[in-house]
Amino acid sequence: MAEETFLSDEFVRELGAVGEVDILVGIPTYNNRLTVERVVQAVQIGLVKYFPRERTVVINPDAGSRDGTPEIVKSASVQDFRSVLAANPLRTTHTLTTRVHPTRGEGGALRLILAAADLLRAKACTVISPESASITPEWIEAILRPIYRERYDFLAPVYQRHKFDALLVKNILSPLIHSTYGANLEEPAGTEFGFSGALACDLLAQDVWREDFMRYGWGVWMTTAALAGSYRSCQSFLGPKVHSGKQAEQNLAGAIQQVVGALFYSLEAHQNFWMSRTEPVALPLFGFKSELDLGPVRVNRKRLFEMFRTGVEELSTILSQILSAPVLQQIREVALGQENTCHFSDELWAKTIYEFAVSYHRAVMNRDHLLQALTPIYRGRVCSYLLENHGARVAELHKRLEVLHQQFERLKLDFIQNWSAKT
């Protein structure tokens, strides 16, 4: 029986024509008509401006767009570089578009990019989101220079964001990754990453391509895989992150299922690494990070609290299977309080997350259900976080987050014990 192939003949032929490259940029698309042209042009200009002598290629795996996105990518070439730069590209530039079949699994687009990087022996690669409307050509330099010129293997982005953005990352992903993997990453679930060819080959060999969380949680998976493989990692400041207009995929439960699911999965896969790790992982930060107190955001805190309370109530049977009795009791007490005095302590939160992780590991129930059950509790935590940091400046928030990370670190030994205990 013939082996399954996930690269079409046509694409392989195009890869052969491109030949060996130094730099590979992957832009996975699905119905991104409004923003993709600008992204592609920024990438092209960035490559010509900062890597004029390197052999480069842009790979665009498309998951079946119906709004003409692949055509836009193919035709979005900067005609006159001289109007933008004082340079003309020395080399032929290549942009390859190919169709990724959804039946090939959720991670199809990323897998294709990694395969291309392997076949073309790319030295430095990056994945850029086609929704990054705030991208500039400088992002290309910021992401690729540490990989290409300074021999880092993995680069995570750092964005300029509103202080109340990315709460899921700040409250769950960052502290948990910090305490387990030892690296204090600001954006483990970013939409842009840089990685070396060696790391790409390693990632390609892992068998995660049919997992559900690979749809939007691949960033977390990639981050943890790089850390677990002890790859030389760093962070780089890119610029402001603008919310995409697409809310359709952004339902919170789904998001948690994806990214937290990816993280818990990784914890299982890498337990030998993080359970025995003692040294922190150094993560140099490149670039000049700008901190602006961007304007206020609108949040319906009352609604958040209500959903928290209802959630805890309605899901109590499920939660009692996941959490220990004392923790669940404490959460109940918070939920029964008033909305404007809601206080979900760091300690309680850390315990909650750790217990969820352990329950996930023991598969006390279907794992998707387990992750969905986390959602209302997270809402409660957000409510409490917003309340407490209402007037805080960015610097104060940093300190608070440090405290949170320390809390996670403090409870880590218990967590490891629980994790390893036999039922």
């Binding site: 990352v169 919310h243 439960a253 309605e314 279907n366």
Partner: protein, 232 residues
């Protein structure tokens, strides 16, 4: 007259004696079969239990949620259950064989029919078990989905889903044993199941949007269209 009575008595007792003599070995045979069956079933139970422990059967079953179900019903662990089930099935079969050996015609027919029905009973039991598991799973999905999407009365929804699936399972089981109405029931059950799945899987766009449009127009998405923060 006395002679006739004696003769009849002796003839009857002779018949009885003949019947008993005929019957006794059969009875003995039956008892022996039953005894052997018991031993065999017991040995089989031990073996199966050993094998299942080796194969870590319990762990495998845990993920389907059966263990929780069983625990709640105060049943022993899956491997224990299975080994006991095998014990009883084997022994009962031997008992029935033994009865067969008795040679009682009427019984034979019933026994024969029973053996024919046995596979169907098995299937019916399996359907019920699967149904219970599915009801549990999808009921829980519905509950979580409704809670996270801020629908009203999530527990009601969850119970509804559970009920529908169990009802369908029962109907299917009964039909197996020959007490249902076949195709129509299946079709009805399938439709019910589909609806239940759509609700139960919660996050699936189509059903959700349909719900939103038809029933919950004033309910917003959990993130809220007027909320401008992004969690990721």
């Amino acid at each position: 007259m006395g002679n006739l009575v004696v003769k009849t008595l002796s003839a009857t007792s002779q018949n009885l004696g003949d019947m008993v003599t005929e019957f006794l070995p059969r009875l003995l045979a039956m008892l022996v079969i039953v005894a052997i069956g018991g031993v065999v079933a017991w040995i089989l139970k031990i073996v199966v239990r050993r094998v299942l422990t080796l194969v870590k059967f319990n762990q495998l079953i845990e993920t389907t949620g059966f263990t929780q179900l069983a625990a709640r019903a105060a049943l022993p662990t899956p491997s224990e259950l299975l080994s006991r089930l095998i014990f009883w099935v084997v022994w009962v079969s031997f008992m029935l064989f033994g009865l067969n050996a008795l040679g009682v015609a009427a019984l034979e027919e019933e026994i024969g029919r029973f053996f024919l029905l046995l596979p169907q009973i098995f299937v019916a039991i399996i359907i019920l078990v699967v149904g219970a598991l599915a009801a549990n799973f999808f009921g829980r999905s519905a509950l979580l989905g409704a809670v996270n999407a801020n629908y009203p009365s999530p527990r009601l929804l969850s119970s509804l889903v559970r009920f529908l699936i169990i009802a369908l399972a029962i109907m299917m089981a009964l039909e197996r044993i020959g007490l249902g109405h076949g195709v129509v029931l299946i079709a009805f059950g399938a439709v019910m199941l589909a609806l239940a799945l759509a609700f139960g899987l919660g996050g699936r766009d189509a059903a959700r949007r349909l719900l939103e449009k038809t029933l919950f127009e004033d309910r917003k998405e959990d993130g809220g269209d007027d909320d401008t923060i992004s969690h990721l």
